[in-house]
Symmetry: C2
Subunit: 303 residues, 2 copies
Amino acid sequence: MTSSVLIIGSMAFDDLELPSGVFSDVVGGAATYAALAVSRSARARIVAVVGEDFPEAVLDDLGDRGIDTAGVERKKGKTFRWAGRYSSDLASRTTLDTQLNVFGEFRPRLPPSYRDSEFVLLANIHPALQLEVLDQVVRPRFVAADTMNFWIERERPTLLEVLRRVDTLVINDEELRQLAGEHSIRQAARTVRAMGPRRLVCKRGEFGAILFDDHGTFFAPPFLLEASIDPTGAGDTFAGALLGALASAPEFDAASLRRALLVAAATASFTVEGVGTHRLAEVTASEIAARSAEIERSLRTTL
Amino acid sequence: MTSSVLIIGSMAFDDLELPSGVFSDVVGGAATYAALAVSRSARARIVAVVGEDFPEAVLDDLGDRGIDTAGVERKKGKTFRWAGRYSSDLASRTTLDTQLNVFGEFRPRLPPSYRDSEFVLLANIHPALQLEVLDQVVRPRFVAADTMNFWIERERPTLLEVLRRVDTLVINDEELRQLAGEHSIRQAARTVRAMGPRRLVCKRGEFGAILFDDHGTFFAPPFLLEASIDPTGAGDTFAGALLGALASAPEFDAASLRRALLVAAATASFTVEGVGTHRLAEVTASEIAARSAEIERSLRTTL
């Protein structure tokens, strides 16, 4: 039986200024992207909060995909909102506005049915909330966490407590450098792993990702796209697909982790092909398998 | 017997503003870096021009390494000079000054002993000079070329003629996009290969390199350094080491090309560890082999 993946993270409305146009009220949030990605291979369970303005139809749609939304609380007020503007080459983005709204006073409470989750993804939220969720899971087999510059700067002691309790940290290279206080990715990875996580995955966007574990270093190449539309949520898709692939793997070992990273890269590439969750929501298992296979071929020195 | 690699390119003095200090009159130039890299595995033959100010001791040192400098002309005047300033993270650089000097009226003439060269590296120079060199080689087995934004903008027709006559183009991702007029690396690679080169190697600096050939795509990961000092010449080292490894391979096939890219990435990493050619000049064959092996391990999904 495939294990369940518990995801704590944001559900949100995003206002996106993209080279291809301006899009408002786009349903997003780390938990949404991650859950859609997990749902391709395992059972996703979301812990999140939404406001009165969040469409019931979106939650229904997630439910239709086998995603458990019992842990999604609906509170009085507005849903979390993020607004951002991307550069013309999509390589960088500026946050124009962040409105925490109902997310500001969120205290995650797990439905009893969630407590046996074997895989846990602590997506990018306040590290204190990441700890609260972790305290409520009975005996997780594998815990992965993401974070961001804001928490690295403002909540370092709490974040360090999270790091002592996770198996794998999944962050981008800028955050890795900031957390370690070192420019060299190699040195930074060593420093951060000494803080607790046995494994580190450094996400590098269009350049792929690097895994650092006890077996050395593994480069997961990106899937090279014909056209990129919207990178929002690609990192969350990557993390979700990674945990989904691990949860559905027959064994958890170094090889399955490496293959899961290729599936994660393949799945994330679909997210970038559409605005918001549009392309991710409609991608088929065989499309993901085809891109994973192409990425795996691009690693081979012999043909 | 190992084949010879003919290199046409600049020999230069560089003035470098690096995070680690300001360094003047550093011996550099594409041909110098490439020849040092080739010399680790094959016989390098340089075609270049230097001024009266270029130290004979440098040419003697290259000769002592088995590098043929019979094609290095010494002309009245000053040697080509480049001055640049790097950003604090070494990720970008600004050209402060370029003085062509004796390079301005250079017309390459190959010594008769060079004409049988099987491998040819047309490093970044005026495409008309690249063509002149190519015309003087009797029957090259493999021709690789580099270029830069300046020639892409100003000498496009001549550059397109070069592209029709080379096997492999080795350029960075910015140049690839500019040459193709497309942002997507995947689309740009297709467009540029349609211009002539059967293979394309896209250099991405600290992110590694991507080969596009008839067998698909291959990602050559970078060697992750503990500390980076000076990226000047890393791309030329990469191209030189690539041709050196191919020239010394028992066979020329898709697998040897892929392995040669790993050797190229390993060799280039040493260049970045010292100012100018300092570290590259002293690196041993076993140091290069160790880093190549580490890079190859970082591609494996099974251990």
